[in-house]
């Protein structure tokens, strides 16, 4: 990783993005950069625009102004599934697993976009189909094993405990081989043990897969513990960014989270 990320083409660059719904500005002139393999935390109080930004990145919304560049290529107007093909995968704040499929099949859906056997090959069931099915099966099995879900591979995804469902969602996203993984509040609803496990999991993803991660999270303890850089959103604007230590002491951040009076007191004390 270069010391100055500005000198190379960043993995993801958000340039002055604004998003307005009628008169309401969900985001105004937000800029953001993520380098290869970097772990960036995006925090902010409720309604700050974190999920809106997420939806712009994944192609659900089109920004009213500004642009998003993934590896230097603008992503405006590209369909969600094509954005995934570019190398960006996400998880969801409210878990969205495929409920009728078991754990193994949930992961296998991530390989569909890369299959060389389409409709006819599948119906014909020739040699190349069988070879591909076996390799996909093997790849999925290795992923599940690595993340400790192999024992429950044939269970219904709905029957898993909450923490495992979140983990499965992350595995499913990783199976699409992203270079940038977007995690939308992965710690939401988790107990302290599960949160510890989540932190370890994120660390392993980075070390093993070298995937850059943008982590949207409410939980300060999780974010402060693992991110090397934080971006703070409030009311659709980036109000602060820097290392966890810098952000933690920024009066603007304290004001956003606790209200202005506390910030004044904090600054004066």
């Amino acid at each position: 990783m270069s010391e100055d990320p500005a000198k190379e083409v960043p993995l993801l660059e958000v340039r002055n993005c604004s998003l307005r719904f009628g008169g309401i500005a969900a985001l105004s002139r937000v800029s953001l950069r993520i380098g290869h393999g970097e772990l960036v935390g995006l925090i902010g109080p409720n309604g700050a625009g974190k999920t809106s930004l997420f939806n712009i990145l994944t192609g659900v919304y089109r920004p009213t102004e500004g642009e998003v560049l993934f590896e230097g290529r603008p992503t405006a107007g590209i369909a969600t599934h094509r954005i995934n093909h570019l190398g960006m995968a996400r998880t969801f704040q409210n878990i969205r697993l495929f409920g009728s499929l078991n754990v193994r099949m949930n992961v296998r859906t991530s390989f569909i976009a890369r299959l060389s056997n389409g409709l006819l090959g599948t119906v014909r069931r020739g040699k190349s189909f069988r070879a591909e099915e076996e390799s996909v099966q093997e790849e999925g099995r290795r992923l599940l094993e690595y993340f400790g879900l192999q024992e429950v591979a044939t269970h219904s995804s709905r029957s898993l405990p909450y923490g495992d469902q979140r983990r499965l969602e992350i595995v499913r996203a990783l199976a699409t081989k992203p270079r940038l993984l977007l995690l939308d509040e992965p710690a939401a609803g988790m107990n302290p043990t599960e949160k510890q496990e989540l932190k370890r999991l994120i660390g392993r993803i980075r070390s093993e897969f070298g995937t850059a991660i943008l982590l949207v999270e409410h939980d300060m303890k999780v974010v402060m513990g693992i991110c090397e850089r934080l971006v703070v959103l409030d009311q659709g604007k980036v109000i602060s960014s820097g290392t966890p230590a810098e952000v933690r002491t920024d009066p603007k951040v304290i004001a956003a989270y606790l209200g202005a009076t506390h910030a004044v007191q904090g600054a004066s004390s």
Partner: protein, 342 residues
């Protein structure tokens, strides 16, 4: 009883899925169809007719199951695709082929009509598939009720068009169609349809249909082209409905636009729902049972539909086919979820 049946069916499901070469099953099914045709001399005409109808209904229900059961898209125009196939094939065998080859004898069992019947079926299916593409392409961006409205409208358009086209007999329909459909074509068609659907769904590629049904947003985020999968399901469903329509036309020798109205579509939907959305074998069994039910109730004449509706309602409430329909996914949510997925 339901439980035992269900277990057996799930074993059947997984054994088909795990067969190294399910093509053996396909070949076996076609041999059975050929044997059945070989024995046709000993089967009385009424029984033959019922078997033909059952096989045609299996094709219709199993193909609609791909759209409704596996992909979760509500379609109310399956009978319209059937009509497209029926009229296409009737024109081919009744007008086009005799005009092209006037020196061949064109009767139902003549070698010429039997040899050309496979291409006729495929062309009928393809034309219906193109109709499916025309309807599905723009309308599958819609969801739920809206999609249902569009497909309902399309079904009516086809029926009214046929009714007002004099070249195909208008409201009087077409009669004197070659009786080319026999047990081999109908049962073989049902076997091929069932094989295609099961081979398609029991694969990594086929999970795409399920992913679209379960959560379209998540499916898109995982790189699955959801529109493409929906249109594919719609076109394949329409193709097989077209083949079924061609088989039907050449079995009853007479078709009219009224035979492909909304009620016909609805009948197929009932077969799919009773058989268990997303369970091809269950859907095939329910198509056969409903065909038989229709025959048993024939004596009741005008009260037939009343009793028929009552039985369907009772089936829905008490679900004696529980085995065939372990879950009516959206209709009766979370009643009995089975984790049995091969």
């Amino acid at each position: 009883m339901g439980r035992i049946l269900r277990n057996n069916i799930s074993v059947f499901h997984s054994s088909i899925a795990s067969l190294r070469t399910p093509r053996i099953a396909l070949a076996a099914g076609i041999v059975v169809a050929a044997l059945l045709q070989g024995c046709s001399g000993w089967i009385d005409p009424y029984t033959t007719q019922v078997i033909l109808f059952a096989a045609i209904n299996v094709i219709l229900a199993v193909s609609l199951n791909l759209v409704m059961g596996e992909t979760g898209q509500f379609s109310l125009c399956h009978a319209a695709f059937m009509a497209v196939g029926a009229y296409t094939s009737a024109i081919l065998t009744g007008k086009a082929l005799p005009a092209l080859f006037p020196h061949f004898p064109w009767t139902g069992i003549s070698l010429a009509s039997q040899l050309t019947f496979l291409p006729v079926l495929l062309i009928a299916g393809t034309v219906a598939g193109i109709a499916g593409l025309i309807v599905g392409g723009p309308s599958l961006r819609l969801r739920g009720d809206y999609l249902a409205m569009v497909t309902l409208g399309f079904g009516e358009i086809i029926r009214v068009l046929l009714q007002n086209t004099n070249a195909v007999g208008g409201a009087r329909g077409m009669e004197g169609i070659l009786p080319a459909t026999n047990l081999f074509w109908a049962v073989g068609g049902a076997v091929v349809t069932l094989y295609t659907m099961m081979a398609l769904v029991n694969s990594t590629y086929g999970r795409g249909f399920h992913a679209v049904r379960d959560d379209e947003i998540a499916a898109g985020a995982m790189g699955i082209d959801t529109t493409r999968f929906k249109v594919t399901a719609f076109v394949i469903g329409a193709f097989f409905a077209g083949v079924a329509g061609a088989l039907y036309a050449h079995a009853v020798e007479f078709i009219s636009p009224e035979g492909f109205n909304f009620l016909r579509s609805f009948e197929i939907i009932v077969m799919v729902i009773l058989g268990g959305l997303g369970r091809p074998v269950g859907v095939a069994v329910s198509a056969i049972l409903i065909t038989l039910l229709n025959e048993w109730l024939r004596d009741l004449s005008e009260y037939r539909m009343v009793v028929y509706a009552l039985i369907i309602i009772l089936f829905m409430i008490f679900r004696p086919f529980d085995a065939l329909a372990p879950y009516f996914r959206r209709l009766l949510p979370a009643a009995n979820k089975t984790p049995v997925i091969p």
